[in-house]
Symmetry: D2
Subunit: 101 residues, 4 copies
């Protein structure tokens, strides 16, 4: 399955990039395929792989924080693989001219 998640620390001011960087390092170390963009991180894996990864990010952030919000969106399709790139390509084929950046 393919999963987008973002973690919002509260009580640390308006800039969150320090915490997002921590999350990215944990995601990168997991070895799972991922893509980081301006509104979250997309990871591909099975349920336990991805959910344990997000739990690990949460556990590490909560060592220093009192409250976090986490947003998770899952797209679970039987038998589908390599979807971080694949979903984009299947749309791009249908768009009249090449506009995907």
């Amino acid at each position: 399955m393919i999963v987008q998640f973002s973690i919002i620390p509260l009580g640390v001011g308006v800039s969150l990039s320090e915490y997002v960087a921590k999350v990215i390092e944990i995601v990168d170390a997991s070895g799972l395929p991922y893509k980081f963009h301006a509104m979250g991180t997309i990871v591909e894996g099975d349920w336990d792989e991805v959910m344990n990864l997000i739990k690990k990010c949460r556990d590490i952030l909560m060592e220093d924080l009192e409250r976090i919000l986490i947003d998770i969106r899952i797209d679970d399709r039987k038998g589908a693989k390599n979807r971080i790139e694949g979903k984009v390509l299947s749309v791009e084929k249908r768009v009249k001219r090449t506009i995907i950046k």
Copy 2:
């Protein structure tokens, strides 16, 4: 922590209430405190309790479906309990007149 989730089955037509009812029965059987509303289900528990419950809902729905989308929002605050009611009450105290329904 307090968690809102909703599961969207694809490929089953525009009416989803049959699947939502299945989810509610699974949530109810878990024994965790919950509240069901028009846009999702709110559950309170620790990480493993809540995530295993959502996984169970997903596993049961995916027996008959090819693709589902799941939306999960977590509010994780150290030491906080009874927040399904508590968060509403703490806002209500601040509202000038009683408007919470």
Copy 3:
């Protein structure tokens, strides 16, 4: 259409209830049907009614804040009305015993 939204102010500490109360007062004054729960506010209306209401909440909060996050989920179904209660009832009819609280 039926819309759930929540506004998260950043840079104001871990307690957000003061800001949520402001939002509820604005929603209540709009006259639109709404329901407030622990993870957001559900409003029913047409596109412009609901979006102008959320914009108003955002404009008022941004007078005093530097950054907010807003989460909006829309369920738009042709011809459907009274869905804040109606969606819950249509699920409840399918649940084997009365468990909706």
Copy 4:
């Protein structure tokens, strides 16, 4: 402000790429900066620019559909510009080695 949105058509089967392609063409024609990824589309603009664009996507899809779900996440920060790239770069600077793809 920077906004991620995704539109989920119901009642059209499990493959949604035809509808996503329609949305991308409308977004591309708007002239607003955007980035399309596997879980949604990120657009930057002021409130009315972005919300009118999403409304246009919804209006066109609803010509042929009975029900759609729309998910919108807004990050609104005073005075911030060029954030589709900028937010990624500000995190990348903090990550120990270059891992952003």
